[in-house]
Amino acid sequence: MPTVSVKRDLLFQALGRTYTDEEFDELCFEFGLELDEITSEKEIISKEQGNLKAEGASDVVLYKIDVPANRYDLLCLEGLVRGLQVFKERIKAPVYKRVMPNGEIQKLIVTEETAKIRPFAVAAVLRNIKFTKDRYDSFIELQEKLHQNICRKRALVAIGTHDLDTLSGPFTYTVKRPSDIKFKPLNKTKEYTACELMKIYKTDNHLKHYLHIIENKTLYPVIYDSNGVILSMPPVINGEHSRITVNTRNVFIECTGTDFTKAKIVLDVIVTMFSEYCENQFTVEAADVVFPNGKSYTFPELAYRKEIVRADLINKKVGIRETPENLAKLLTRMYLKSEVIGDGNQIEIEIPPTRADIIHACDIVEDAAIAYGYNNIQMTLPKTYTIANQFPLNKLTELLRHDLAAAGFTEALTFALCSKEDIADKLGLDISATKAVHISNPKTAEFQVARTTLLPGLLKTLAANRKMPLPLKLFEISDIVIKDSSRDVGAKNYRHLCAVYYNKNPGFEIIHGLLDRIMQLLNVPPGEDKGGYVIKASEGPAFFPGRCAEIFAKGQSIGKLGVLHPDVITKFELTMPCSSLEINVEPFL
């Protein structure tokens, strides 16, 4: 969930009233936001870098507010205030308009070569805008929030904002060899080629995260004006030449990306939020984007869409009984201008360009429910009549684990993921023999594979409890995973039962006795015939020679028991003899 940090006093000023922290927290809760933290720049620095560094930092109170991940219109002070004011019916939702310029329309020409790298571009102009320090900061911060969220760290969309008065259109969006791109980037005093920049930014804590998007391409995206001035090299950096400042009056905005829908949403969000500060409030000057096929599109789209939803559908989905008029009023409070039409049971809802999250009637239903107040909804029990069933495998597991504890063994809960070493080397096996599934992107060696046996987990648990009085008797009944091409995903879980006995003597007879008890519980008699169970001398790299037996039941091999090999014991950092038992319980279902 993105967190937006706003100055409390600015927020209250914009809301036209003050709140206590508790009151504001309550308002957030009701609206689906979360007042996550009340802090200040000073406090933040002091927490992260110590009191010394914090000295002199601002102690203006900041509210950190958690915003739902799909509400891009609430990612800045402007949007938050507009949303809350409309919710509290203090203002009407503004109408956003795209207007044609007095002079010639700005043009962005997209060349064919961009297709393979970053094919989409959209643009718009904010004309006669008036920034202040706070507005400017918010403008920059919104772009950063959009980059981090909907833009997927600039991979899907990257935003560039420029002082239009320093440039001269039409603009060209194309690609060039990195060595052929040379310009003065933001915050630098001299020109660099793109190759040099990529090296410099390797150590830039902010920009290094975006380099990978174009790094291994032979051509880099770049935007020029008609004089050959570089506006930006998306998605990495803008040019210093067209940098915007507090005094900028006309802003040219371009968004490039690989996802056209998201690029259009991002542009709509930026211009709807900040057209508030334009001379003609809430108007946005259009720009044309000419695509390689010669077709020209005008942006921003600022599309208003109409949906018709029946009032009884909303009532039925939420579980309330409101009149269509009331429902229309509730929706209007959620920034969705609504009115009753037709037979009096239909509500026409206008979805503004700020609410890209509304993609289905269910989103409208939710907004009606939020405005009604979740906690005002009458709770009822559904009449759904069903008979409960346990999953047979889990039912068997539950029965067995209680009896194993009653037999004096203590239940362990160990990780299903482990290292290759745990299931192979340490047990004297080759990893290829385990048929284990392998994880491609573990952060640590502890999570290289899914376990193919429960034994390593129990041995690690023994090692962690070596200080406890002997004997240690542990068991676990849980799933292991084996590659299996007969399954749709190519792997299958098996429910295993594993037990270990760790003492000064190996205690094979104790582990054997446990097996006998388990078979007794499962109603499997000893004996060679098909209904019975038997153990037969066997070998296994994990076991001491001559001290291992294979367990047969229901006419199949179900596992092994025996005294562990001293090599296994030492590899798990243990010092005493240990016997173990591991079986697959699925044949007993």
Binding site: G32, Y374, P382, Y385, G408, L417, N441
Partner: protein, 468 residues
């Protein structure tokens, strides 16, 4: 007979004594270790009211081993003084004496000796005075004679600092006759035995009283894992509420069932390498239900069923990628898909509790695997009010009655609500679960009828067994 000769002697002395006697004095008189007398006192105490013993502690000054040596042979400085002949002694030679180092500096500060550094063969030490009085030895001899109180506080503490004296606390008993005093006492039986029962001898024997303040011996038993005990409790609650358990015995899942089927777009951050464990082998799912996959593709890329969709280029390769499931909702999706194939539709209540996996580095607050609890109800005409009603019943069974619901965002539920409960200890509302109504974009491509709603909620098992 009392146990042992010391106890017997103690009782005899006590009979003759006027009032009582001190255990330490008795030990001295009998010529035995004090500990032997203490043992006798304790064993007599277990017999009931034979004797009374009052614990007394006295403090005493004793010489340390070094102190003993000085009391016997004189202080180091005195020994140094004595070893210097009238013609003096080379300093290097003096330092080699056993008392040399300590004794030299003390004797210097007492001004008993001096060093002549101008001597031809190195510094030489001479006596300054003809004789001296070894006060340290005198004082230690006083202490040894039991007359420590004759020393001043300052003198004692100086000797203690030099580690020549220590103060020891001696615990002694003041023993007096008890109400049932007797010099001839019989040994009490510790326990009832089968022989006593068969012979009837228990009737004539006294028995040692039990110490009811002592702890019992813990039973020799196995234990269930605490977290899994809580799992059993949650299972029980679901079963009581008529919910059927879903199969969840597949840790490996395809991205399709884990994300795409849930209408989670392919660029969603949860599908990032940083958050999810993907598989190298088997890297891809071998089979997917292709006609359903087509419907899912359409809803993502073009919309449909009244939805705008996400309008992006949906890729089958992405959906085939295998992973360790990040939630058990993938199992719910499979269960709902199976339900949708059964005609006519029958209402269902499902639950599951099983492991899920996230690509985290382990620390105090992060686990790479944990257990998710999930409940699902599918029926005609379910409302948000129904969801809240079911949650109220569910949490009431956990003993949680104060609930509050907050609007939230989940990719596959709409409306969505986070469940908060008032924590009496923390005095604030804490999140206890997440819930919502599954999106039509998830349900309709499965083939569920349009008027069927599915409400669901989820919570983490681990959260209930650790302080929030």
């Amino acid at each position: 007979m009392a146990d042992g000769p010391v106890a017997e002697l103690l009782l005899r002395r006590l009979e003759a004594a006027d009032g009582g006697l001190d255990s330490a004095e008795l030990a001295a008189e009998l010529g035995v270790e004090h500990q032997a007398v203490v043992g006798a006192v304790k064993s007599l105490q277990t017999l009931g009211e034979v004797i009374e013993a009052e614990l007394r502690s006295t403090k005493r000054w004793e010489l340390t081993a070094e102190g003993e040596e000085i009391a016997r042979e004189g202080s180091h400085e005195a020994r140094v003084f004595r070893s210097i002949p009238p013609e003096g002694l080379a300093q290097s030679e003096l330092m080699r004496l056993p008392s040399g180092k300590v004794g030299f500096s003390k004797a210097m500060s007492n001004k008993w000796i001096r060093v002549d550094k101008s001597a031809a063969d190195g510094p030489r030490v001479f006596r300054v005075v003809d004789s001296m009085e070894d006060e340290v030895q005198g004082r230690l001899q006083l202490v040894r004679g039991g007359q420590a109180e004759k020393l001043g506080e300052k003198e004692r503490s100086e000797l203690r600092k030099r580690k020549l004296l220590t103060e020891v606390t001696l615990k002694t008993y003041w023993v007096s006759k008890g109400s049932a005093f007797s010099t001839s006492i019989s040994k009490q039986e510790a326990e009832l035995s089968p022989e006593m029962i068969s012979s009837g001898s228990w009737r004539d024997r006294p028995f040692k009283p039990y110490n009811f303040l002592a702890r019992g011996v813990l039973p020799d038993s196995g234990h269930l894992h605490p977290l899994l005990k809580v799992r059993s409790q949650f299972r029980q609650i679901f079963l009581e509420m008529g919910f059927t358990e879903m199969p969840t015995d597949n840790f490996i899942e395809s991205s399709f069932w884990n994300f795409d089927a849930l209408f989670q777009p392919q660029q969603h951050p949860a599908r990032d390498q940083h958050d999810t464990f993907f598989l190298r082998d088997p890297a891809e799912a071998l089979q997917l239900p292709m006609d359903y996959v087509q419907r899912v593709k359409r809803i993502h890329s073009q919309g449909g069923y009244g939805s705008q969709g996400y309008k992006y280029n949906w890729k089958l390769d992405e959906a085939r990628k295998n992973l360790l499931r990040t939630h058990t909702t993938s199992a719910s999706a499979r269960a709902l898909y199976r339900l949708a194939q059964k005609k006519p539709f029958t209402p269902a209540k499902y639950f599951s509790i099983d492991r899920v996996f996230r690509n985290e580095t382990l620390d105090a607050t992060h686990l790479a695997e944990f257990h998710q609890i999930e409940g699902v109800v599918a029926d005609h005409g379910l409302t948000l009010g129904h969801l809240m009603g079911v949650l109220r019943e569910f949490f009431t069974k956990l003993g949680i009655t104060q609930l509050r619901f907050k609007p939230a965002y989940n990719p596959y539920t709409e409306p969505s609500m986070e469940v908060f409960s008032y924590h009496q200890g923390l005095k604030k509302w804490v999140e206890v679960g997440n819930s919502g109504v599954f999106r039509p974009e998830m349900l309709l491509p499965m083939g569920l009828p349009e008027n069927v709603s599915v409400i669901a909620w989820g919570l983490s098992l681990e959260r209930w067994t650790r302080p929030t």
